[in-house]
């Protein structure tokens, strides 16, 4: 188990370093970053000064090594916008994003898993068609359009919810519903497929033949066996939760990581972009390792 953990952590570190390398390369091969950071009216001396202070006058390989060694010390440099450490600027926004991401993942799970289970039990009936419809249509609608439609409906047509902002629970509802509708499709689909496969298994026929009530067949025998693909799907959803939050935050004016990232990208605030990328990648890597431990809880046969 310890050696497994070490191996996964090592692979995760490689993934994070590769991600940062891609960002570093994109940044450095696309022309002089200093020119992009300063307004075009900046004097030659100012350009030279900034170039030296960031070390851009040195060769690419030296800069890359320097970059990695600074990242290893969690030093991403100063935000160009606010002149404060980039990582601190990013960390401030973590709370808002976490609030949105966890509440929508929770909502999507609470609705999606029962919906998938009921659909599998009542295959090819009303509720099943509804569940399949939700998952097919949900996969085909861009998350930002769901957001716009919800604002159009509940902010403009029937103005019962604030169309944007942060603070109260009312402000959370629309962004949370948007992200969870986006997640619902995947969760429902996998739960349904996994349950349909499990319900056909012979050990469930045996259980029924023994006289186990149908409700117990489903709750005690089937769900646990169908759980592995569902948990895998939930772990894949971490990526979509954050991706969805990034898009949704910019629409609802939610002061989280996503809004910051979009602003930093437009303002060419590279230290902030790099720090945000690092934080998101680390979070996803850690979440995926955590899911492996959940597997062992569901199925004791799996040993890490």
């Amino acid at each position: 188990m310890v050696s497994y953990l070490a191996k996964r952590t090592f692979q995760g570190l490689i993934a994070i370093v590769l991600v940062l390398s891609v960002v570093f390369l994109a940044l450095n091969l696309s022309g002089d970053p200093v020119r992009l950071m300063l307004p075009s009216t900046a004097s030659q001396e100012a350009v030279q000064q900034l170039r030296e202070s960031y070390g851009f006058d040195r060769p690419l390989v030296t800069r890359y090594v320097l970059f990695l060694s600074r990242v290893a010390r969690l030093d991403f440099g100063e935000s160009i916008g606010s002149r404060r450490p980039a990582l601190a600027v990013v960390m401030e926004r973590l709370g808002a994003t976490a609030q949105l991401a966890f509440s929508s993942l929770l909502l999507a799970t609470i609705i999606g898993i029962p919906l998938g289970i009921f659909a599998a039990i009542n295959r090819a009936k009303g509720l099943d068609f509804f569940a399949v419809g939700v998952s097919v249509i949900g996969q085909s609608v861009p998350v930002f359009w769901i957001a716009l439609l919800l604002i159009l409906l509940f902010g403009v047509q029937w103005p019962i919810l604030p169309p944007s902002g942060y603070g109260s629970f009312q402000h959370l509802i629309l962004p949370m519903v948007t992200v969870s509708l986006f997640l619902l499709a995947g969760i429902t689909r996998v739960t349904r497929t996994s349950m349909v496969e499990t319900l056909d298994k012979q050990y469930l026929t045996t259980a029924r033949a023994k006289g186990v009530k149908e409700i117990n067949v489903v709750l005690k025998h089937a769900i646990r066996n169908a759980a592995i693909p569902i948990v895998t799907q939930l772990s894949l959803q971490f990526r979509f939760v954050i991706g969805g939050s990034v898009v949704v935050e910019t629409i609802f004016g939610w002061p989280g990581l996503g809004q910051l990232l979009a602003q930093a990208a437009t303002a060419r605030d590279y230290p902030v972009v790099t720090a945000a990328t690092f934080l998101v990648a680390s979070f996803i890597v850690i979440a995926n390792i955590f899911v492996d431990f959940v597997y062992t809880m569901i199925n004791p046969k799996i040993r890490l």
Partner: protein, 304 residues
């Protein structure tokens, strides 16, 4: 010994032709059994024709007229008549802009799926067949790309290399190939142990020949399914980047770009929000339905 004379090429050609006609006929018979799938095919054909003929539409997509700004779609009103779906904030006809944007969406989708499919299939076959170090390197890169949500990676790279048509296709291809690589690798891992591959290896076929002549035909089905399903995702991804202002430059009309402009007029002009989204959904939904049908058509056991 009396070898029968080799059949002339002509009849072999016509046999092959008959086979193709047969399989196309078979496809149509299977397809038309499901009304939804038939409708999806029809929708794609209609959308492609409409987008291809956008140039012949009597209204100019770039013709600004502030007097006609944000006219609603009122068919009865003679003043608004030529603008069937209303006008955008700059008084340009919405329908012709949506048609032009649809064409861009389809072109970007097809190009990026093309890149993703070629790169992903080749790397997936190599990783699965060769194993060892090649496999390890490719899978670490896949891990790295899976450690970031697509939007985050997209924003970070486009922030660095800038907004242009080809940069967007590049970013989409860069993230899209992992789906192909992972699926193809999985297939090749099990194929590798099959006897016909072993036989090919035994008679001294080179790796290239085995992969192209023996492995590729076996994975073609799953690749075709993935192409269809990924196409929809690519179109959504492009729209998302364009919506966030880090996609195709604003001088080219795109569905995401139109929706980005529409965001400001959410409270006064519902049509600029609703129509582009409906078209986007129709395209992606149709491709997803066709993809799901193809998956059942080729191999009912594979779940993507």
């Amino acid at each position: 010994m009396n070898y029968s004379k080799k059949e002339p090429d002509k009849s072999r050609m016509s046999e092959a032709f008959d086979e193709i006609v047969d399989s196309i006929g078979n496809y149509f018979v299977r397809m038309s059994r499901y009304r939804v799938v038939l409708l999806a095919h029809a929708a794609i054909v209609a959308i492609v024709i409409a987008a291809a003929l956008a140039n012949y539409y009597p209204l100019d997509p770039f013709d600004q007229n502030l007097m006609q700004s944000l006219n609603g779609p009122e068919l009865g009103n003679p003043e608004h008549f030529p603008n069937l779906l209303g006008t955008d904030p700059l008084g340009r006809d919405l329908l012709v802009r949506i048609l032009l944007a649809t064409r861009i969406s389809l072109i970007v989708g097809i190009l990026s799926v093309g890149i993703a499919c070629v790169v992903g299939t080749i790397l997936g076959m190599l990783a699965g067949y060769l194993g060892g170090a090649v496999d390890a390197v490719i899978m670490r890169v896949v891990d790295a790309l899976l450690a970031l949500p697509f939007v985050v990676l997209g924003i970070a790279i486009v922030a660095a290399i800038g907004r242009s048509f080809f940069n967007i296709v590049f970013v989409l291809g860069l993230t899209g190939w992992i789906t192909f690589a992972k699926l193809v690798r999985g297939q090749v891992l099990s194929l590798k142990e099959d006897e016909f591959i072993e036989a090919a290896r035994a008679i001294g076929c080179s790796v290239t020949r085995i992969l192209i002549r023996h492995v590729l035909p076996q994975v073609a089905g799953i690749v075709l399914v993935t192409i269809t399903l990924t196409l929809g995702q690519m179109i959504i991804s492009e729209a998302t980047l364009s919506f966030l202002g880090v996609g195709i430059p604003p001088s080219i009309p795109t569905l995401g770009g139109i929706l980005n402009d529409a965001q400001t007029y959410l409270f006064s002009a519902w049509w600029v929000v609703v129509f582009p989204g409906v078209v986007l959904m129709a395209i992606v939904l149709s491709f997803n339905l066709i993809g799901r049908f193809l998956r059942d058509y080729f191999d009912p056991q594979v779940d993507i």
